[in-house]
Amino acid sequence: MTSALDYLIELLAFTGLDHSILVVLAIHIPALAIFLVMVVNATIAVYVERKVAAFMQDRLGPMEVGLFGFKGGRRFWGGIGQTIADAIKLLTKEDIVPDNADKKLMLLAPFIIFIGAFLTFIAVPFSENLVVSDFNVGIFYIIAMSSVGVIGIILAGWSSNNKWSLYGAMRAAAQIVSYEIPIGLTLLLVVIVAGSLNLGDIVQWQADNRWFIIHSPFTFVAFFIYFISVVAETNRTPFDIPEAESELVAGWMTEYSGFKWAIFFLSEYANMLIVSIVASVVFLGGWLSPLAILNIGIPESWMILDGPILGFFWVMLKALFLVFVMMWFRWTFPRLRVDQLMYLCWKVFIPFCLANLFFVSIWELISGTIFR
């Protein structure tokens, strides 16, 4: 697996520039691409979320705002320009800063959260070879970077000088730090089995053997623990206690408006996409075609579906389904309380994760020596 960065440097070599300048130049292109991915993702995801919510609640959702004179379907999927209109509204809104807020930190906070999401994308593979930089410690890097955001949340809560924000920030800190542990433990389980921290190697392992979700009962359980934990880490319902709107107004985002608030939103949806892609790469076979595991005598020529180009399609399909499930959760469940959230993490998930780790090691030992 080669990374997009190396490929770009090779591509730009014809200019005859010095290598160090080339690297700087080449970094900018994927950075822009990632930013575009984040923006496009947020735009689409917000629209889809509103539609999903509306349909689950027997409503219609946005129906009026069109794009280039095209409104969308007449009965259900209308209003396709709504999020773009909303984005324009957000960007032109007045930026309100409370009088007693710590203005510098308040400005800084959304960007720290944004940087956390942005940096994570560097190691996220969208397909075979379609990754900005292919780390040997990819999983480790992703776990590390996804917890940068919590610093921003605490800063946001503290600097806005609002009690609701402070409550939200404190809850978020406790929640995210706690849920790092089950996430780490479930991914560790995969690493033990696959024997590598590199995401490419993990997918390769799944191509050689089988997807992790059906590899053993323990990895099956681990997938669900991982998925629920990342829902908690991205502050989505039923774990949205840091921004619980019926309790804390808007939690740590209470005092934010306009552009800064838009950045929060961008990061939230980017985080959703990241964790879904990671889940699909690690547990659901990444860019491997689901047709392959059925193994129903598909002709060899069809196996092009497993190739690098359609790989992107498969990754996104799996990831977007998981994003949909997150939305599905949100519009079905009530919210947990702070102590119940901690109970779920420390008394349910972590014991299960540890037991999983233990049993999967034994499973591997036995299956490795006896069944093979």
Binding site: A53, D58, E245, S246, R337
Partner: protein, 379 residues
């Protein structure tokens, strides 16, 4: 309930948190001054009066007929109940004993529909308070249908001014009975859906069971009435205990909280009593709708309301509890003093007692389960 640590050990200060008057889940313009230690609440002081519209002062300057629309505006989610309660109290003051039975039937039918619609809001908003948004839109969708029925009958959707002292503003439309029965057929299975989505959901049970337990004696001492009192296991319902209107003719039960998911008198019980009461209301409606007698609804309307000197206290079971009208008449066409004992006013006063020691999230839950309407509290 959480024990707050001895503060001398950790040297922690308490923080005063000001929830409201603008807050997503204070159900209007209620302000709660919450003294907290971290997330744990040690004292709550409700501060009311932001929606005070001088109802009682107004009444001293309005004739008895003109008070009726103002009474509607007190509890805007159960305006029909308020109109009915006021009409009953004025009839008592005037000494009108017997009303045409068509009037009584129509009044009871509309009151029960109003009870369902008010409980639908209560259930949906309680879901919203604990974070589930979908049940809210579903209940509002069904409430809309009841409001359509009301619009057909009265011409208004929220504030009806339909039940007048001594009769009704006008007769029912001919298609009403069929449409009402149609609605009941549609609505009964919907209650199952609410139960599947919200009532039996594990997270919902965790959030509401055992939270804000209100024992029976505390409830009575604080004057709590309505579903909140019945949630504490006290089978007290004026429709059953002292039947006004024609409630004695119908067969229905008074559901009480049984502590199915936790302790008797917790938030879940207060919530579930409302679900069961909707079923009982459907039962009453199914009995009442086919047997509406014929008659003139305005035959008993007094030409001029000018009661003798004297005072009465009359009670009525609204969706939120026991509303009382204390009317002193000085022999004129305006009352000299009209006091409304509003149920939610007394229900809210118990908040500190039952939710101190819980977390901020639980305060919201308890407040939601008490089902308050600020228009009625502040009058």
């Amino acid at each position: 309930m959480y024990k707050i640590l001895d503060k001398s050990i950790i040297g922690a200060d308490e923080m005063v948190l000001n929830m409201g008057p603008q807050h997503p889940s204070t159900h209007g313009v209620l302000r709660l001054k919450i003294v907290t230690d971290g997330e744990v609440v040690s004292h709550i002081e409700p501060i009311i009066g932001y929606l005070h519209r001088c109802f009682e002062k107004h009444c001293e300057n309005l004739s008895y007929e003109q008070i009726a629309p103002f009474a509607d505006r007190c509890d805007y989610l159960a305006a029909m109940h308020m109109g009915h309660a006021y009409a009953i109290s004025v009839e008592k003051l005037l000494g009108i004993e017997e009303l045409p039975s068509r009037v009584e039937y129509i009044r009871v039918i509309l009151a029960e529909f109003q009870r369902i619609s008010s409980h639908l809001i209560a259930i949906g908003v309680f879901g919203l308070d604990v974070g589930a948004i979908t049940p809210f839109t579903w209940t509002l969708r069904d409430r809309e249908r009841i409001i359509d029925l009301f619009e057909q009958v009265t011409g208004a959707r929220l504030l009806y001014n339909y039940i007048w002292p001594g009769g009704l503003a006008h007769d029912l439309p001919p298609t009403f009975v069929n449409k009402a029965l149609e609605f009941l057929d549609y609505f009964e299975p919907q209650i199952e859906e609410y139960n599947n989505l919200l009532t039996t959901n594990k997270i919902f049970i965790e959030r509401s069971a055992d939270v804000g337990v209100m024992p029976k004696d505390v409830a009575i001492n604080y004057g709590v009435t309505g579903p909140s009192l019945r949630g504490s296991g006290m089978p007290f319902d004026l429709r059953k205990d002292e039947p006004y209107s024609i409630y004695s003719k119908f067969d229905f039960d008074v559901p009480i909280g049984e502590g199915l998911m936790g302790t008797v008198g917790d938030s879940w019980d207060r919530y579930y009593v409302k679900v069961l009461e909707m079923k009982e209301s459907i039962k009453i409606l199914r009995q009442a709708l086919p047997q509406i007698p014929d008659g003139d609804v305005q035959s008993a309307l007094p030409k001029k309301i000018r009661p003798k000197k004297g005072e009465i206290y009359s009670r009525y079971e609204t969706a939120r509890g026991d509303v009382g009208f204390y009317i002193r008449s000085g022999g004129k066409n305006t009352p000299t003093r009209l006091k409304m004992r509003s149920p939610a006013y007394c229900n809210l006063s118990v908040l500190n007692e039952i939710s101190a020691g819980w977390m901020i999230s639980d305060v919201i839950t308890v407040l939601g389960s008490l089902d308050i309407v600020l228009g009625e509290i502040d009058r």
